[in-house]
């Protein structure tokens, strides 16, 4: 079972790589015009909110056949990679006969699996945004690569510190919300690129903006994902975490490094939602705060675990 789990992880990583290549082909041969037209039709057809998806003028005559095939393959491979990734997580759990998020490797695997699911949901609901799969696949490959190379530990039972049903509650909630924040980060970053492009910025990342969905669409998606993840995060890190901490360490809050950074992330994301809801704050400013929020999450996951010693021991690292 453990071997199967490891093999599936490799499958998932290869899948994401293949998806990346397909997406890159779509970008390179650019049927954005064709896709944009389809996308607009789909958006309206889905009876979605009245997002004003400006129909992009066709920048290049599309080569519809071949390129849209590449896009479709990319999406399919990405879904397969996600399935393999979730399979890897499940078999890890079966092998250890416990919830598979009891150490840092497993935590990264679980959170990125949530991200995969979140992305599939986004793709189904907003087919127009399929193209962003390139960035999703990229993020996934990087995180899974880091997990496999630096964090891997063999399957084992839980240490007593983690042997609690709060593992199921606290860690599940933070893994879900981290996964969704991860997916929220993608449109947030792309929105910044796109609005830079719209404002006439040339030069690298902004040139990518040309092929991206409109700024409004990206911004709204980013907000939706963050607004979805934030309450779960609050519950997981700032309610369930402290309840567990009370039982495990005797105090519900003690400014342990992990707690400090959970607090920081919470403030930053709360600041984002706050700023987003304040009409006088520019959407780009608000979105920068969301990006900052994601950086604090990364800091909490990697920085705090690797550089600081705290009570939040990750078993096996």
């Amino acid at each position: 079972m453990a071997a199967l789990s490891d093999a599936l992880l490799v499958v998932a990583m290869l899948g994401y790589l293949v998806a990346m290549i397909c997406y890159a082909a779509v970008y390179a041969f650019g049927d954005r015009g064709a896709v944009a037209r389809v996308a607009t039709r789909e958006l309206v057809g889905a009876g979605g909110p009245p997002v004003v998806e400006v129909v992009e003028e066709v920048r290049k005559p599309a080569v519809p056949g071949r390129v849209s095939w590449a896009g479709r393959i990319a999406a399919a491979v990405l879904v397969l990679a996600g399935v393999a990734q979730i399979g890897s997580l499940i078999f890890r759990g079966v092998a250890g006969d416990r919830l598979p998020w009891g150490n840092m490797y497993e935590y990264v695997l679980a959170a990125t699996s949530v991200a995969a699911v979140a992305w599939i949901v986004v793709m189904v609901q907003r087919p127009a945004l399929r193209h962003l799969g390139l960035y999703v696949a990229l993020t996934q490959v990087v995180l899974l690569g880091v997990a496999a190379l630096f964090l891997y530990v063999p399957v084992g039972p839980l240490v007593p510190a983690l042997d609690s049903y709060w593992l199921a509650i606290h860690v599940t909630a933070v893994a879900i919300s981290s996964g969704v924040f991860l997916i929220g980060f993608v449109p947030a970053g792309l929105f910044l690129i796109r609005s830079g492009w719209d404002n006439g910025k040339a030069g690298f990342p902004f040139t990518l903006g040309e092929r991206l969905p409109t700024a409004a669409v990206l911004e709204r998606l980013s907000f939706r994902l963050h607004a979805f993840a934030f309450p779960i995060w609050t519950f997981g890190a700032l309610i369930a975490g402290p309840i567990w901490a009370e039982a495990a360490w005797g105090r519900y809050w003690g400014w342990d490094p992990k707690e400090v950074w959970a607090f920081i992330s919470w403030i930053v994301y709360a600041g984002y939602l706050h700023a987003r809801a304040t009409p006088s704050v520019k959407k780009t400013t608000a979105t920068w705060i969301a990006v900052l929020g994601f950086l604090t999450m990364l800091m909490n996951l990697f920085g705090v675990n690797l550089f600081f010693t705290g009570l939040h021991s990750y078993g096996g690292l």
Binding site: P49, P160, I239, W255
Partner: protein
């Protein structure tokens, strides 16, 4: 969290003339500044930034040893950090200043909003605007055959708050947004109150408890290795209980990874005397205190027979230094070698031992690390020192090591080489005195705590989350309907509708359409 409506500035109160007036005006301006949304946001971020050093620098309330280590590593920098409270960030005046300002700002922002919201909830939706087609959503139908009461009924059924005036209906929905928002902010204030309660009326103590009746301890300040009482806690009123560690059980995987720790204790004074057991993640709940199992280790027992034949037995908890429970510690015999004939103590003949205890010692040298955390091949690598232990100097010293200053100064000298002892083995020193490694006892590191604020904090946090969801996902919006008859005779009339989302609400067009449809269907 959201401020989509900007409250009109309250009318400027007439300002008394002169300096007093200037001060009042300045204070009012400051207050308005402090309670503005922007200030709250800035303070919030400042709080986040201010807490970063608390995670980078060791904190004395969390890990005092690390702070001491920091002092040794950075002797010039450390006092400066100390001066700006860098080792006590979360208790520092500047951190407190930020959050107190933030909460003042919150209060200043919440109270007027509570008042406004209370009025809004009690007030009726406003009059229908003259031009419904100016609103973001608009619809009309020339052939409506119901009356205005039918429109109102349909809206009420969809839980709109409705006001009928003549042939018009105004309706509003989504008060939950502001309600949730206020609940959220008030709950945050409650969390602060809970934390304050906890620090005033809470207390905790840590204690290493060795197994056996001789080492049992009672809940009083003197019996803790380290304790802290809140300023409002009466030392004499700590819950009166005593506890004996009867047994400590630790089980391990073959890899040495721990499986389970469990402490079995006898508790007296907390109701009838009873046996209880607790473990990591599963504390012992007593009346007015909880007991948490934080760690465990071994306490070797030494029997020292001095040159005059006097025997003393002592145990000393050793601190584990790695996952395999390699443990280091020291045991001192300050009263050794007192001549029984004269009763004279010779301060240069005190004895101290420091050692490395390995629950499972390797088969061959070097004997420095244990191979397994359970006692499968226990051995103690002991070094003996004779001389002045330096205990009388009045400087508090660690019980886990001998005074290094005394050793460096040559006042405490090693006796022979180190010696590896198995349980029961005896080592004869150069002066004929002997030391026997009797065996070990297990000990548990316990934390005893009471925090009266934690229940409130939990309730407040849950309410805050609920309020937050309401405020994030609630949407305030209004719809208006007007019925007009083109001519007094015709039975079907013109129904005009308008909709106004008062917060960012992308799905409003659909809701408006379905509301209009529902109103149209409703016949009277």
């Amino acid at each position: 969290m959201t401020a989509t409506e900007t409250r009109p500035a309250p009318p400027e109160a007439p300002r008394p003339p002169g300096w007093g007036g200037f001060l009042v005006g300045a204070a009012r301006g400051l207050w308005r500044q402090l309670t503005s949304m922007r200030t709250a946001l800035v303070l919030l971020f400042l709080l986040a930034v201010a807490s970063i050093p608390g995670s980078v620098l060791p904190q004395s309330n969390v890990a005092i040893e690390q702070v001491q280590q920091y002092y040794r590593d950075h002797p010039t920098l450390a006092p400066w950090i100390e001066r700006v409270d860098g080792f006590n960030v979360f208790g520092s005046p500047w951190f407190a200043a930020i959050y107190l300002l933030l909460f003042t700002s919150l209060i200043g922002c919440v109270i007027p909003r509570l008042r406004d919201h209370y009025r809004a909830i009690r007030s009726v939706p406003p009059n229908v605007p003259a031009r419904l087609d100016r609103l973001p959503q608009h619809a009309s139908a020339a052939d409506h055959d119901g009356d205005i009461e039918g429109v109102a009924a349909a809206l009420r059924k969809q839980r709109w708050r409705v006001a009928v005036r003549g042939d018009t209906v105004s309706a509003e929905k989504g008060y939950l947004k502001e309600t949730g928002n206020l609940v959220f902010h008030v709950s945050l204030l409650a969390v602060l109150v809970a934390v304050a309660l906890g620090s005033w009326y809470g207390w905790h103590g840590n204690r290493i408890l060795v197994t056996g009746k001789d080492s049992s301890f009672c809940n009083s300040l003197q019996q803790y290795d380290e304790a802290k009482l809140g300023p409002r806690v009466d030392e004499g009123k700590l819950p009166p209980f005593c506890m004996t560690l009867d047994d400590f059980e630790a089980t391990y995987q073959t890899s040495g990874q721990p499986k389970e720790f469990r402490a079995s204790v006898t508790v007296e004074g907390d109701g009838p005397t009873r046996a209880a057991s607790f473990s990591v993640n599963d504390p012992l709940r007593l009346d007015g205190a909880s007991v948490y199992l934080l760690g465990h280790g071994y306490a070797p027992i030494l029997r020292y027979t001095d040159r005059f034949g006097q025997t003393q037995t002592k145990e000393g908890p050793f601190l584990s230094t790695d996952e395999m429970q390699t443990s280091t510690g020291a045991i001192s015999f300050p009263d050794a070698n007192v001549d029984p004939a004269t009763g004279k103590r010779d301060a240069s003949l005190q004895m101290g031992f420091d050692g490395i205890y390995m629950p499972t010692a390797p088969d061959q040298a070097p004997f420095v690390t244990s191979r397994f955390p359970a006692e499968e091949n226990p051995a103690l690598l002991l070094t003996a020192y004779r001389g002045n232990l330096g205990l009388d100097a009045g400087i508090p010293s660690s019980v886990y090591r001998l005074d290094q200053a005394q050793i460096d100064a040559g006042r405490l000298k090693p006796v022979g080489e180190g010696k590896l002892l198995k349980p029961g083995e005896t080592w004869t020193l150069d002066d004929g005195s002997t030391v026997q490694f009797v065996g070990t006892k297990e000990y548990a590191t316990l934390s005893v705590r009471h925090d009266p604020g934690q229940g409130i904090a939990l309730v407040a946090a849950v309410l805050a989350l609920g309020g937050l969801m309401g405020s994030l996902f609630g949407k305030r919006r209004r719809v208006f309907f007007r019925l007009t008859s083109p001519s007094p005779t015709s039975s079907s009339r013109l129904l005009e509708a308008g909709g106004l989302p008062r917060t960012d609400y992308p799905g409003f067009a659909e809701e408006f359409a379905s509301t209009v449809a529902a109103v149209r269907e409703k016949k009277t």
